[in-house]
């Protein structure tokens, strides 16, 4: 699943470790989400959306245009 996490993080000048700290997950988890290797759970997706004050669908794109 594509996502804008890396862009959003860069806009705030945060490192992966810093974002991981804010989300209370490992840095490896942030890296895996950014590179599309891992899709976050729904609770984590909500935490990410709240952190960036955005909707989940504004951050994550499952490619379904319908």
């Amino acid at each position: 699943m594509k996502n804008r996490l890396k862009v959003l993080r860069a806009e705030r000048d945060w490192s992966q470790a810093e974002l991981a700290e804010r989300l209370d997950v490992s840095r490896q988890a942030v890296n895996a989400i950014e590179t599309g290797k891992h899709d976050p759970s729904l609770p984590l997706a909500f935490r990410i959306a709240r952190l960036f004050d955005m909707r989940i669908e504004d951050i994550f794109d499952d490619g379904d245009v319908a």
Partner: protein, 150 residues
């Protein structure tokens, strides 16, 4: 401010470091348990059996030591993994589940394949330790594959 440049740890980083410390403590403890079990089994084994060749009936240990080993094995293979599983995040939990799946599938496939090969005269008869080893090795390999390649 969560992220500090002055060397102080934020709450998330402190939790992560504490989690990492606990994980390494558990890994060290599990290794120590394995070492003690191997040492005791080697020193106090009173029979002629062997884990590796399948003649389990000839394995003999003092009853008290056998109970102690059973308790330690329960700790090492049940309590520690479940405790560790509760400490990790979604991503690492997924890697662990891939590892467990690899171990389980290998046993489901490995035992009948081994039995068929034995029936054809290609291998010794399947035995419990061999099946355990298949599960353990394939679980570890699956976890490492998930960790480094996926």
């Amino acid at each position: 401010m969560i992220w500090n440049s002055n060397g102080e740890l934020g709450p998330g980083e402190a939790r992560n470091r504490q989690r990492d410390r606990k994980q390494w403590l558990y890994i060290g403890f599990a290794g120590a348990i394995g070492g003690v079990i191997g040492l005791f089994t080697g020193i106090f084994d009173q029979g002629d059996g062997s884990l590796f060749t399948g003649d389990w009936a000839d394995l003999k240990l003092p009853p008290a030591l056998a109970i102690l080993l059973a308790v330690m094995l329960f700790g090492g293979f049940v309590v520690l993994p479940i405790s560790g599983f509760r400490m990790i995040d979604d991503y690492k939990r997924e890697q662990n589940l891939i590892g467990f799946t690899g171990g389980c599938v290998s046993v489901l496939a490995g035992f009948p394949i081994w039995a068929a090969l034995h029936a054809g005269g290609f291998s010794p008869a399947p035995h419990a330790f061999g099946v355990f080893a298949i599960a353990f090795v394939s679980m570890t390999a699956s976890f490492l594959y998930a960790r480094w390649r996926l």
